[in-house]
Structures are given as structure tokens and as C-alpha cells.
């Protein structure tokens, strides 16, 4: 039988998306629907002294206007979505977002009042009628300044802007440093970008008073936790609340929050008004009201021996969480853990402080802090290699964990509170393969010197990373064979474009011997499947995929048992293929799965005690810890010495995400991730001024890379199976964008040759690179 897992299968969901039939949240139209717009803070930090909504309420077409005081007991700060892991000595101060600002606003874009009107146009007119009286306070923008003793305090109840402090260590770094042949110490900067899904966020809420049923369409990556949380807040049974995450136009992390204010407010108001409500975020709102990521400052040092072997690393960094910290410490712990990379680091001391600032909230964005760790470690290794006169590839080779060292315990805790243990990996083949594809030796020996002699500044970057993926707690799936022979697969993890309708279908199709197109996947609707957590941390294929696999096997066992009864043969002589269960030696003697499904659901007659109806099974999968994907990125660039513009001329990814379910989808994930990473490295930066105003809140000013900037990506796969799940898979969703900044920095530095320029910050931009070059006297 041809393997379906591992095949380049075109996607089941594409026909709907390509013909305009796929339903996104803004496509939901309901009778009597009203539209919502928000009055948001224009100040980054201010005391609210009055909100006058009387003119807005009086405007024709306005149905209701709400402020914090109208919410009564419903006004409360959101939950802490991810409690911090039990790191000894950890300090964590919780300050979560509120539905509508009361007394104080803490970032530009924070909602103050909600307008409900008969059209969005009228609702926005009424937003302009609202008069907000506020006393501006000094804004806390710079994340290091935020922790200065005299900084203005954002959350008075906490008393300072310190949101968290944690230290994780292993070995004795001071001793390692004392015997090092070389210590490299540098300060590294990483700044914020936007996730910039092309679909903004949106919520539609509908209360059916007759059925006492609340339905919410939400652009969320986590419909089930949203349902459970809203039911609790609204005093409803979980079964009275249905959350549908239909087709979602890109997630990238920020579409998972508990809760965005709009997610809390629309259902509440829909029940009060007895009318369906819709709110769709506009792009300007998205730039200030959808969560962001990546502001960190690291002071890091690397101690190596004379051969470039790592003796230890010390890193002290500050992480910007924005105005609130509902996502706990996921990002800085990812940074802390991912820094160790594929390397043997005998001594590690990592300390971070998390700072509140008067900027939009920070929650994970594709990569979720992993970029920072990779950037710091790879840059330190590059600098050490240069000082020691060791080749860049060679210093990595010398420090890699060996294939026989897995599982490898790093001795610190990961974001999921489990020990940071790598399940499996083999790093050297990926490095050798990447070096081979870019012809590294020839580039260094011939190509670069020749082009440099012609005055051209070309460079190459080659870096490694590992990525913790596929973390728990669990996901589930229900597989049902219908009498038609078609298969229904229901699971809780929604899709934002990752191809769940196909990769999950492939897993089930392979087990049940049916066509991929005959497996109909339903995801992201709590009325169909209501156990699970969501799509995040590159975990869909690993965790939900494994649950699909288990449920399909259970159905397969039921089908075989029933077929054995019907055919009066022993189960062991049956096989499942081509939609039938048949005798292996005599394939003509068999029965279709659909017929078995019909027989398994008799309308009359007695059944054996204990019989379950139908060919259906539900299964759950929870890994004991995450699986570790890895890879090498190599990039060639050419820098224009006059303009400091950088052109990426070649991009190679050698990637190991365990077994590939669908290489087409995996390659799409990697290419998209690389494009995101290129944006982060050279084009995208959220620019805040000293008063906390975002200066580039449009796609005209905030530059997403286009088809002109993103090169083709050459991809090669290495498959080191994960022992932690039956499929052997690891996550892939975030991989493409994690090492891009590090590769870019090394390549640009390499292109600028022996100038001595060190690139210690991301994002760069043509302008910033020009400044750096001028600083070295290198530019015209």
C-alpha cells in the first residue's frame, strides 16, 4: 500500500478557499446584527478623570454605549493564561488586562468605551462623539528605563515595573570563566514587530434567548478555552456556549489570548441587547490592540577554551511584557532555554527580569522568544570563532551534542514546567548538508575573495538552532466512519492555515485505508469537539495528530472485530485497505467500511452486552514533554555599500521536524516562516516615540516583506524521529523564522569583511545599517 503519511498531498481545504466559499469571521451575517466600534486610549499612560458618552448615546443609529462603570461585577481583570513554572526563587507579579479601562490607561489602543450601532460606519461616528478627560502621565517606553528606581509606576499595586525575576543555572559559570582561554561579552538588542496576520481579529456574538444558547465566532487559536472561560464569566453552562473558530486568516500567536477585551465584551452585550453583535478590528486598531513581541536586551558572555569549546554561558536580560502580563513567562523562558541550542553547555547562568512598559501587551508571536536565544548564542559563537581564528562551521561542529547523547537533559526547566530534555536529534548531518548545498568551502575560498576583489560585498551566514515544540498538555480527536464510507474527523485545535484539514486527514486515511479526500475534518467548533487547548507552540501535528492516529487505530480495531464476526474469520487474517476490511489472502472476501458502519448501528434486534454503536472512537494524546526540532539556515547576501541595502541572494534551510506527514505543507510552513524572519531581520520594527505613540501603525509605514524581497528557499529535510509520539513527528510551524536574524547578522557582517563591524541588534534596516557603517567610516 502506498504510504499516505509522507506524501505531498494537495490540501482538502483549498477548493473552499480558492472559490471564496470558506467562511471567515467577518463573513458571518445574522438577522438584526448590530456593529461595534471602540473608543481607545490616545495616551500611553494617563489617569482617566472622565468619560462622557452622552453625545454618542444620542446619535441616531446608536443602540448602546458602555464604559467600565456600566459593566458592574462583570468588570474584572483577565485570568493568568500560563502560570509560571516552579523555578526556585522566582518572582512574578500578575497584572492582567481589563475589559475597559477604568481610572487609568496603560497603553495606546487600550479600550475605554464600546459603541453599538446599526452600522460600523455609525458606530465609528459615535466613537468620535465620546469625550475622554485624561491627565497624561510620563510614559514608560524604554524597557531598561522601566526598571530604574525613579521610573513612573504603571501598576501602583505592584509598586514598581518589575513583572518578574528568575534565575536558572547549571554548573559553575564562574569557575568555567576562570579557566577560559577567551571570554566574549556583548550587549544584544532585539526589538518589537507586529504579527501582522492579513486577517485582523474579529468577534461575532449571538444570544438565542429561546434556546438559551450563546454562539461566538472568534478569530481565536484556542476556541475551547475561550468557551470554558466565557461560560464561567457569564454564569452559563459550558454546553450553552459554542465558540466557532472558522477559517482564520493567519494566527502567528497573538490570536491566542485569554481574553482580549473584545472577546469578553461582545458576548456580554449581545446577551443584554438580545441582538447579534459584530466587531472586526481595523488595521489601525490591530497595530495597537493586538499583542506584539520581541523587545529584549541581553548582556551575555561566552567562555570558551582555546579550541573554541564552550565552557559556559552567562546571560542577563530584560524582557518587555508591555502594559500587562497575562501570558506569564512563556517568552522569556523560551529565550532562556533556546539559547542553549544544539550545543553542549556545561555551565549556564541565565537571569531575566521582565518589565512592564506603556506599550501594547506582549504575548508569543511565531518563535515566541526563541529568536532571541538563538541570536545571542549564535552571535557569541561567531565572535569567538573570529577571535580564535576558527572557522564558523567548525566551531559549531565542535560544540554540537552527539547523536548518541539523546535524550539530553539540560538541567533547567522549560516553559511547560517540564525539564528541558531534548528527545532526539542529530545535528551534524544537517550542518554538513547545508554547507554542501551552499558550497561553503568554495564560497569562502574562491567566490567571496573574487567578488570582493571586484568591489562587491557578498557574505554568507550559517547558523543552527533547536526548537522545543509539541508541548502538552493534551489534545483529542474523534473518528467516525459514516455509512457512506466517508470518515468524519473532529478535533479541537483550530486552523489558521497550517493545513489541518489535510495532514490530520492523511494520518486517519493511512490507518483506515481510505482516500485523504474522503476524510472530512472539522476543527475549531466547540459544539463538535470540546476538549483540548489550542493551536500554539508548533504542537498541532504532534499532539492533535497523535490523537487522530490513536482514534483512527481504535476505529480500525472496531472495524476488524466486526468484520471478523460478519465474515466468520479470525481477526488476524484481515487487513484494511481501499475502504474495505478483507481477508488478506483472499481480497475478494471482504466488506466495505461503510457497510460495517451501518451494521454497527442496528435499528432493531439485540446486541451483545457492552457493545458500543457505530464505527467511532475518541482518543486523547498528551506527551510527557515537548519534542525538539532543529535545523540549520544558510543565507548569502550582497550589501550595496552606497545605500546599505541588503539583497538576499540565496537561502537554504536544512530542517529536522521528525517524520514528515506532508512535505508540501512542511515546506510551505518553512518558507513562510523564513519570510517572517526576513521581515523581522531587516524590514519590520514597531517604532514608538518617547511618549509611547506608535509611529508606523500602517502597512505603508510598517514594511512587510513582499515577493520582491523574499528569495526562494531551498529546503532539505533530515528526519530524526521523535520517540515521544507514535508518529515520530516534531513541530514545524515556527521554525522558519527562529534563526533568520542570526543568519542575517552573520551574513551581513561577513559581507562587510574585515571592517570589524559587529551586528548585535535585530531588526536592522537599511537606515540602521547605513548608520552603523558610517560609524565605522565604511560608507561613502
Amino acid at each position: 500500500m502506498t504510504r499516505i503519511i509522507g506524501a505531498r498531498v494537495p490540501r482538502n481545504e483549498d477548493a473552499r478557499l480558492l472559490t471564496g466559499r470558506a467562511q471567515f469571521v467577518d463573513d458571518v451575517e445574522l438577522n438584526g446584527m448590530l456593529h461595534v466600534a471602540f473608543r481607545r486610549s490616545e495616551y500611553a499612560h494617563a489617569r482617566l478623570t472622565g468619560v462622557d458618552v452622552s453625545a454618542a448615546r444620542a446619535r441616531e443609529g446608536v443602540v448602546a454605549v458602555y464604559t467600565a462603570s456600566d459593566l458592574g461585577d462583570y468588570w474584572r481583570p483577565g485570568p493568568l493564561l500560563v502560570p509560571p513554572p516552579p523555578i526556585p526563587g522566582l518572582v512574578f507579579h500578575q497584572a492582567t488586562q481589563v475589559p475597559l479601562a477604568r481610572d487609568k490607561v496603560r497603553h495606546v489602543g487600550e479600550p475605554i468605551a464600546m459603541v453599538v450601532a446599526t452600522s460600523r460606519y455609525l458606530a465609528e461616528d459615535a466613537v468620535e462623539d465620546i469625550v475622554v478627560d485624561a491627565e497624561p502621565l510620563e510614559a514608560v517606553v524604554d524597557l531598561e528605563r522601566a526598571l530604574a528606581p525613579d521610573a513612573p509606576v504603571i501598576h501602583e499595586a505592584i509598586g514598581s515595573n518589575l513583572a518578574a525575576h528568575a534565575v536558572q543555572r547549571k554548573g559553575d559559570y564562574d569557575a568555567a570563566r576562570a579557566r577560559a582561554a577567551l571570554v566574549i561579552s556583548r550587549r544584544f538588542l532585539y526589538d518589537r514587530g507586529a504579527s501582522a496576520a492579513i486577517e485582523t481579529r474579529g468577534v461575532v456574538a449571538h444570544w438565542d434567548a429561546h434556546a438559551e444558547q450563546l454562539t461566538i465566532w472568534d478569530t481565536t487559536q484556542a476556541p475551547i478555552p475561550i468557551r470554558n472561560g466565557l461560560a464561567a464569566m457569564l454564569g452559563l453552562l459550558e454546553s450553552q456556549v459554542r465558540v466557532v473558530a472558522p477559517f482564520i486568516g493567519g494566527g502567528f500567536g497573538p490570536k491566542i489570548m485569554m481574553f482580549y477585551p473584545e472577546e469578553v465584551l461582545l458576548p456580554w452585550a449581545a446577551i443584554r441587547l438580545g441582538r447579534p453583535l459584530k466587531w472586526i478590528e481595523d488595521r489601525l486598531e490591530s497595530f495597537t490592540a493586538t499583542t506584539q513581541e520581541r523587545g529584549q536586551v541581553h548582556e551575555a558572555e561566552l567562555a570558551v577554551d582555546a579550541e573554541g569549546r564552550i565552557l559556559g554561558v552567562r546571560d542577563r536580560f530584560v524582557h518587555d511584557t508591555g502594559a500587562y502580563d497575562p501570558y506569564g513567562l512563556t517568552i522569556p523562558i523560551n529565550s532562556q532555554c533556546t539559547l542553549l541550542g544544539p550545543y553542549r553547555v556545561p555551565a549556564y547562568e541565565s537571569e531575566f527580569r521582565v518589565a512592564f512598559t506603556n506599550k501594547t501587551l506582549v504575548t508569543p508571536v511565531r518563535g515566541a522568544g526563541r529568536q532571541h536565544g538563538v541570536f545571542v548564542m549564535e552571535r557569541l559563537l561567531d565572535l569567538a570563532a573570529r577571535r580564535l581564528g576558527i572557522d564558523r562551521v567548525e566551531i559549531r561542529r565542535r560544540n554540537y551534542l552527539r547523536a548518541d547523547e539523546f535524550p539530553y537533559n539540560h538541567g533547567i526547566l522549560f516553559q511547560d514546567s517540564a525539564p528541558l530534555v531534548y528527545d532526539s536529534g542529530d545535528y551534524l548531518p544537517a550542518l554538513e548538508e547545508a554547507a554542501r548545498i551552499v558550497d561553503y568551502d568554495r564560497f569562502v575560498r574562491e567566490v567571496q575573495p573574487r567578488l570582493r576583489a571586484e568591489g562587491r560585498r557578498v557574505g554568507l551566514g550559517i547558523v543552527s538552532y533547536v526548537e522545543g515544540t509539541g508541548i502538552g498538555p493534551y489534545e483529542g480527536a474523534r473518528v467516525t466512519v459514516e455509512p457512506s464510507g466517508k470518515v468524519r474527523l473532529a478535533t479541537g485545535v483550530g486552523t489558521q492555515g497550517q493545513g489541518h484539514f489535510t495532514s490530520f486527514a492523511q494520518v486517519v486515511a493511512e490507518v483506515l485505508g481510505v482516500a485523504v479526500g474522503d476524510v472530512h475534518v472539522i476543527t475549531g467548533d466547540t459544539s463538535v469537539f470540546s476538549w483540548g487547548t489550542g493551536t500554539f507552540a508548533s504542537r498541532g501535528a504532534v499532539v492533535a495528530g497523535s490523537a487522530c492516529h490513536a482514534a483512527a487505530h481504535a476505529v480500525r480495531a472496531k472495524a476488524i472485530a466486526l468484520a471478523a464476526d460478519v465474515l466468520k474469520v479470525d481477526q488476524s487474517c484481515l487487513e484494511v485497505a481501499n475502504g474495505r476490511v478483507a481477508v488478506a489472502e483472499d481480497p475478494g472476501r471482504g466488506i466495505a467500511l461503510g457497510e460495517l458502519a451501518r451494521l454497527a448501528n442496528p435499528l432493531r434486534g439485540a446486541v451483545r452486552p457492552g457493545t458500543e454503536p457505530g464505527l467511532e472512537a475518541t482518543a486523547y494524546f498528551g506527551p510527557e514533554r515537548g519534542s525538539t526540532a532543529s535545523g540549520v539556515h544558510a543565507m548569502e547576501v550582497e550589501v550595496d555599500p552606497e545605500t546599505a541595502m541588503v539583497r538576499i541572494t540565496r537561502y537554504v534551510v536544512v530542517h529536522d521536524c521528525g517524520r514528515l506527514i506532508n512535505p508540501l505543507i512542511v515546506e510551505g510552513q518553512i518558507q513562510g516562516g523564513v519570510a517572517h524572519g526576513i521581515g523581522n531581520a531587516f524590514y519590520e520594527q514597531l517604532k514608538y516615540d518617547e511618549s509611547g505613540q506608535l509611529l508606523n501603525a500602517s502597512f505603508m509605514d510598517y514594511l512587510l516583506p513582499t515577493a520582491s524581497e523574499v528569495p526562494p528557499v531551498e529546503i532539505s529535510h533530515v528526519e530524526t524521529l521523535s520517540p515521544l509520539n507514535p508518529l515520530g513527528v516534531k513541530g514545524v510551524g515556527e521554525a522558519g523564522c527562529i534563526p533568520t536574524g542570526a543568519a542575517f547578522a552573520q551574513a551581513v557582517e561577513d559581507a562587510l569583511g574585515d571592517s570589524g563591524l559587529e551586528i548585535l541588534e535585530i531588526p536592522l534596516s537599511p537606515t540602521r545599517l547605513y548608520e552603523l557603517l558610517q560609524g565605522r567610516g565604511l560608507s561613502p
Binding site: 480558492l18 472559490t19 471564496g20 496576520a197 492555515g497 513582499t706 523574499v710
Partner: protein, 160 residues
């Protein structure tokens, strides 16, 4: 608030007549008045290209036009590309074949621009496709599979 005007348009061959306020965007008119929700809105300031439709055959950003400006004109949206609702035209089929879409939100706009491109230049090279595509933002794909899809579609349409 101004009084509504009558707007008469043909969309995908079907005539429509609806009242529209002068300030109503063409994108909102198509999506919410005509209920053709395949056209998507990503930025409402003319950069992302998700809302692209063909107006008298030429790609335009429907978020940068008022509905009243389309009065008397012919519009094609993504719903009008395939002959029947359960089939794909060669361009759409090539997008599926090459995995030229992930979340699919930007895809309808890209299909409209590429429909016009392939009509005007049936045999484009890669850089021509990339240049036409550079008027669209896609956050998922990294563009490479889209470029491959358009080139494949050109090849297949030329071969017929």
C-alpha cells in the same frame, strides 16, 4: 449622513441594484450588501491587496473606491472565476497543486491580480510574476509557492 444613491453594477455577470451611501466603500458594498464575502479586507488603506477585484477587467483595490464609483460598471470577484461553484479554473487548480495558499485570506485578491496578468501576459517570467505579486501582502507562504502556481497556470493555459 448623506442620503443613499442607487448603485447599479454587474458582478460576475449578475446585475444588482442597491442603495448605497456615498461614503460606503466598494469592498463593504460587495461583501455586506451583495453578500459576496469571498473578497477580503486586510488593511483598508490600499496596501495589502486582499480586497482586489476586477473593475471593467482591471484589478483595483475595492477598499480605495466608493461603491458609487462603480455605478454602471462590470465587476469580477473571486466567486466569478470558476465556471461552477464546485470546480476550479486552471489558475485556482495550480494554486492548489503548488500549495500557493495557507490561510487563504489574501488569496482571492492575488487570484484577481494574476487573472489580469495572465490575460495580458500569457507567458510571464518569474520576475514579472514577482513584480505583479509585490502589490499583495501574504504573511503565510513566503510567496514562492504562489509564484510557482502562477507559472504553472500559465504553462497549462498556454498548452491548451
Amino acid at each position: 449622513m448623506s442620503s443613499p444613491e442607487r448603485v447599479r453594477v454587474r458582478v460576475n455577470g449578475t446585475p444588482y441594484e442597491r442603495p448605497a451611501e456615498p461614503r460606503l466603500l466598494l469592498s463593504d458594498f460587495i461583501r455586506h450588501e451583495l453578500c459576496l464575502t469571498g473578497t477580503h479586507v486586510g488593511c483598508e488603506h490600499g496596501v495589502c491587496g486582499a480586497c482586489t477585484v476586477l473593475l471593467d477587467g482591471e484589478p483595483v483595490r475595492s477598499c480605495l473606491l466608493f461603491a458609487v464609483q462603480a455605478d454602471g460598471r462590470e465587476i469580477t470577484t473571486v466567486e466569478g472565476l470558476a465556471l461552477a461553484s464546485d470546480t476550479l479554473n486552471p489558475l485556482q487548480a495550480a494554486f492548489r497543486e503548488c500549495h500557493g495558499l495557507q490561510c487563504g485570506f489574501c488569496t482571492p485578491g492575488i487570484l484577481m491580480t494574476m487573472t489580469a496578468l495572465l490575460r495580458d501576459q500569457p507567458d510571464p517570467d518569474e520576475s514579472t510574476v514577482r513584480e505583479a505579486l509585490s502589490g499583495h501582502l501574504c504573511r503565510c507562504t513566503g510567496y514562492q509557492h504562489i509564484v510557482q502556481a502562477v507559472l504553472l497556470a500559465a504553462e497549462q493555459m498556454g498548452a491548451r
